[in-house]
């Protein structure tokens, strides 16, 4: 009898397969299903794309109206030539899916609060946050409106959706993108709602900082009292160089927002006594403060050719796969080229054969909190205008991998969703019941803005297109072949009174409600100005004579704008190469102002020998954030350390983290007032510290760190900053680390540690458009493809690619064209 060995062998075999067929927990994360993952016919090996892969294909589908030819160039950029507009978007969807499927799916899952579904209960706090903020709610509003009132956009998004799904339907299980195999889940069908969710996510990324900032500012005000708060978080920016040049007269305001009668004690000077609560949920990291951008256009009067040049470089998180995907779309109605979002049809930042456009973030405050008083624990009614008003309940079901569903019942009020209530709190919400009102909750035709910009022929078309834009507010720059340049700040902006919405507002009656939205005509706009250029770099768009409040000054970085305007004003005979040099310029205008201000307070004779050496090195630095600049590292550490010495005693006593004042506050204080009272350390009773004392402390502290860095050979700016482009799962092996690149915060080349110029574009509007551009990534989202990170080194070196924007026959014959994908009716 061999029964015993048979049973034993069978048990061992089955156990082995079982172990290799599950995700094993290892140090906080989980392995892939190892047997499946290693299988050369199904696992990750299948994603090891041949380095000389052939992308030629002929695809038959019954979903097309006509024929589509796609030519791929040697950078894997598709040039789509379609006989019908909808076919072009079908193919754009198909190609986005072919090269970026996992990313599209993942990003929309984040937006929809569905990470727990694939990653488990660890991600529950992020999912709850997005659900309660109303991300899905907002996407649903847009979807309903477009389906009911906008047949052209519906057809566009539907064609795009069909394209994504056509790719998905032919995808064999073994060809699933790498990340699905790594994380062990399956893609699902694309829907129009996912496109709107993706656009919601962009609204969050660009305006959602208020969701955490408003709470922090409220808590900071409570802690410091309004008078000190207003000093440290002042909205005064003396060195502001706004988007609309100073002295420009604004049209008569049609709205006159009035400050509520009781604002002084019920709002500004209000002190909340709400307690810190125990079972708080973690909030996800707030959108990056430096989410911003540069854009500008120079008129023909300033260029060598006599034609305008337009530049745009959005500064966003640096990720792999990149947020951007380059594409050319040519149909009988239009021809356009630029960066598109995998997840959305059309080109987002680019040009067509008549004009070019670009965007930067407006930074305006469009998200507010209103404090609610519920009648009882059912949260079925809340107090409003002297009566109980009924809530409706919105049910959000969060599926959790390997665990039971979590259900959120969100009370909906006329303000918006009650984001924080008895069932959901974070450390900053401090037990309050808060409804969130956000312009992104309103149905929006944002997709149509890009659809129309892709087809715009002139300034009027551009204005019509951007008039549809609601959220996130943007500075739309434009230049035409016929010589117009213009910039307009556009979005659905609240007509605010001074400081309205900086803090949580009382929600028990109408007095703190939004009193109106600013009409399109009153949004800042300038066309063909005398100075020969228009520009924006996220600074305040207008000076204080503008009739409406923009939001807290911390939302408007001050220095890049000064740099851009100063340089553009001095330039003439400009070429496309000059514009590339400006986009990658490393001059540190902040240090140029802050260093001499700081030096006024440095007593060299009191410094240690090591500190003296560091300060001398800092003073010899040429003020450029070049990769090898050691002076910049020294300046940064000293400045941060001095700031810390000045503010720490005021802020560190708070039980919850408070916002730190912006750097301009200290610089401007140093420049005008040497007896800055906040400098005194409140913890020392018998001594009044002056700024000089704090500067001394700051420099000595920084010197300790700097000496250590010098020993490790990490004093050069690039080594210290260690810029990286991270894979969306934050896996180092799939990322690019320690890139040799300069720049930084306040620099036109705004590259920080993991954030920076995400699509650099320069468009010279000559008869045959001369355009350059690139993004830090590659056209393929597959970590196993040579096209995964192709552009990163070129980007880090500050170089550009010439963009091929050609009619079909010329492109077909171009030396850079390598592959042909045909789409035909089945």
């Amino acid at each position: 009898m061999r029964l015993l060995p048979f049973v034993a062998s069978a048990i061992v075999t089955i156990s082995l397969v079982t172990v290799l067929n599950i995700q094993l927990p290892v140090g906080g994360s989980k392995t892939p299903k190892l047997g499946y993952f290693l299988s050369p016919q199904q696992g990750f090996w299948k994603n090891a794309e041949k380095v000389n892969a052939d992308f030629d294909a002929h695809i038959f589908t019954n979903q097309l109206k006509g024929k589509v030819d796609v030519y791929m160039d040697d950078r894997l950029v598709p040039h789509i030539y379609a006989e019908h507009d909808e076919d072009a978007y079908f193919v754009q969807g198909y190609l986005h899916a072919q090269f970026r499927l996992w990313q599209m799916d993942f990003q929309t899952r984040v937006a929809a609060g569905r990470l727990s579904e694939i990653a488990g209960a660890d991600k529950l706090s992020i999912d709850k946050f997005f659900r309660r903020l109303g991300m899905v709610y907002g996407a649903e509003q847009t979807e309903r409106m477009i389906n009911e009132t906008n047949p052209v956009m519906k057809a566009t998004v539907d064609a795009y959706t069909a394209g994504v799904n056509a790719y998905l339907n032919q995808l064999s299980p073994e060809d699933l993108p790498f990340e699905y195999k790594l994380m062990n889940y399956q893609p699902e069908a694309w829907t129009a709602k996912k496109t709107y969710l993706f656009l919601m996510f962009m609204s969050y990324d660009l305006t959602g900082r208020s969701a955490s900032a408003d709470l922090q500012l409220t808590n900071t005000r409570d802690y410091l009292g309004y008078d000190l708060f207003d000093k440290l978080y002042t909205n005064q920016q003396d060195s502001l160089d706004p988007i609309i040049p100073k002295g420009t007269e604004f049209a008569e305001a049609s709205l006159h927002p009035t400050v509520p009668m009781n604002a002084d004690f019920a709002y500004l000077h209000k002190k909340d006594s709400t307690a810190v609560i125990a079972n708080a949920s973690d909030a996800p990291e707030a959108p990056n403060k430096n989410n911003g951008s540069n854009n500008w256009a120079v008129s023909g009067a300033k260029t060598k050719s006599g034609r305008p040049i337009l530049c745009s470089d959005p500064h966003l998180g640096l990720n792999l796969p990149s947020l951007w995907y380059e594409v050319q779309i040519t149909t009988p109605t239009h021809s356009t080229y630029g960066a598109s979002f995998p997840g959305s049809p059309a080109v987002i930042i680019g040009f067509n054969d008549s004009l070019a456009w670009g965007v930067t973030n407006a930074g305006r405050d469009v998200l507010d909190y209103y404090e609610l008083k519920f009648k009882d624990s059912t949260q079925n009614e809340y107090w409003y205008n002297g009566a109980w008003k009924a809530t409706t309940k919105r049910t959000e079901i969060i599926k959790v991998k390997d665990s039971a569903d979590v259900i959120e019942e969100i009370p909906m009020t006329h303000w918006g969703p009650a984001m924080y209530d008895a069932h959901y709190q974070n450390p900053q919400s401090k037990g309050r019941n808060l409804a969130v009102k956000w312009t992104a909750h309103e149905a929006s035709t944002g997709v149509e803005t890009f659809y129309q910009l892709n087809r715009a022929k002139n300034t009027e078309d551009y204005l019509k297109a951007i008039a549809l834009w609601k959220c996130p507010g943007q500075n739309f720059v434009m230049a035409t072949k016929t010589g117009d340049i213009a910039i307009k700040q556009q979005g659905n902006f609240v007509a605010r009174w001074d400081r309205q919405g900086d803090f949580i507002m009382p929600g028990e009656d109408t007095s703190y409600a939004w009193q109106g939205m600013i009409p399109f005509e009153e949004n800042p706009f300038i066309k063909n100005p005398e100075r020969g250029f228009v520009s924006s770099a996220n600074q305040k768009s207008v000076e204080a004579t503008y009739p409406y409040y923009l939001g807290t000054a911390a939302s408007f970085p001050l220095y890049r704008g000064i740099s851009v305007n100063k340089q553009l004003a001095a330039m003439s005979n400009i070429t496309a190469e000059d514009m590339q040099a400006l986009q990658t310029n490393n001059y540190n205008v902040f240090a140029a102002m802050a260093r001499p201000a700081l030096m006024k307070f440095v007593q060299m004779e009191s410094l240690s020998a090591a500190a003296k050496t560091m300060v001398n090195k800092m003073n010899q630095w040429d003020l450029y954030n070049h990769p090898d600049a050691e002076g910049m590292t020294i300046f940064k550490l000293i400045w941060d350390s001095v700031e810390n010495a000045v503010w720490e005693d005021e802020l560190s006593g708070s039980p919850i983290p408070l916002t730190t004042p912006e750097s301009y506050v200290l610089v401007e204080q140093m420049l005008k007032d040497s007896n800055f009272s906040v400098a005194d350390n409140i913890h020392t009773k018998n001594k009044v510290e002056t700024l000089k004392d704090q500067v001394l402390v700051g420099i000595e502290k920084a010197t300790l760190r700097l000496t250590a860095l010098e020993k490790e050979n990490k004093l050069s700016w690039a080594a210290f900053k260690a810029t990286r482009v991270m894979h969306l799962t934050k896996t180092n092996a799939l990322s690019r680390l320690n890139l040799p690149i300069g720049g930084g915060e306040n620099i036109i080349n705004a590259t920080t540690e993991n954030h920076g110029p995400s699509w650099r574009m320069v468009v010279h509007l000559t008869d045959e458009i001369e355009a350059y551009g690139l993004y830090p990534g590659g056209q393929s989202g597959n970590p196993g493809s040579i096209y995964y990170d192709t552009f990163i080194d070129t980007w880090a070196a500050g170089k550009y690619y010439r963009l091929l924007f050609l009619p079909k026959e010329k492109l077909k014959a171009n030396e850079h064209t390598k592959w042909h994908i045909q789409f035909s009716k089945a």
Binding site: M1, R2, L3, P5, F6, S9, A10, V12, T13, L16, V17, L20, N21, T31, L34, G35, Y36, L38, S39, P40, Q41, Q42, G43, F44, W45, K46, N47, A48, E49, K50, V51, N52, S172, P173, E174, D175, F178, L182, T731, N732, A733, L734, P783, G784, S785, I786, Y788
Partner: protein, 120 residues
């Protein structure tokens, strides 16, 4: 088949070919080759340890071979990344060895079990 020296290469070859063929069907479970190995070992009865070795070599060779081929065509681009995630110190050679070893073990165990069944 009575000639043992002939039986060994034939079962190795059969295991390999069946493993490759069934692996072409991506919708089937990744371990489907264990079923084909099982059938091969039933069809060609051998001593248990010989069955183990032939099944192990059949699958191990095809797994390691396919992985090596794909890896070379890819200039080790993906394998180097995966060998950092897993973590194998970035060694694609080690990753191929482990891939082969997993195939070897599973293939062998499947054939071993079958050989015992045959004699059970």
């Amino acid at each position: 088949m009575k000639n043992n020296t002939f039986k060994i290469p034939v079962s190795i070859l059969l295991s390999s070919m069946a493993c490759f063929a069934i692996g072409l069907y991506g919708a089937l479970p990744w371990w489907s080759f264990m079923v084909t190995n099982f059938i091969v070992a039933i069809a060609i009865p051998q001593k248990p340890w010989v069955a183990f070795l032939t099944g192990a070599l059949g699958v191990g060779a095809i797994w390691a071979g396919l992985a090596t081929g794909m890896d070379m065509a890819n200039n080790h681009l993906l394998s180097s990344k995966v060998a950092t995630i897993l973590p194998l110190n970035g060694s694609y050679v080690l990753l191929i060895v482990i891939t082969g070893l997993v195939g070897f073990l599973l293939g062998g165990m499947s054939s071993l079990t079958a050989s015992y069944l045959r004699k059970a």
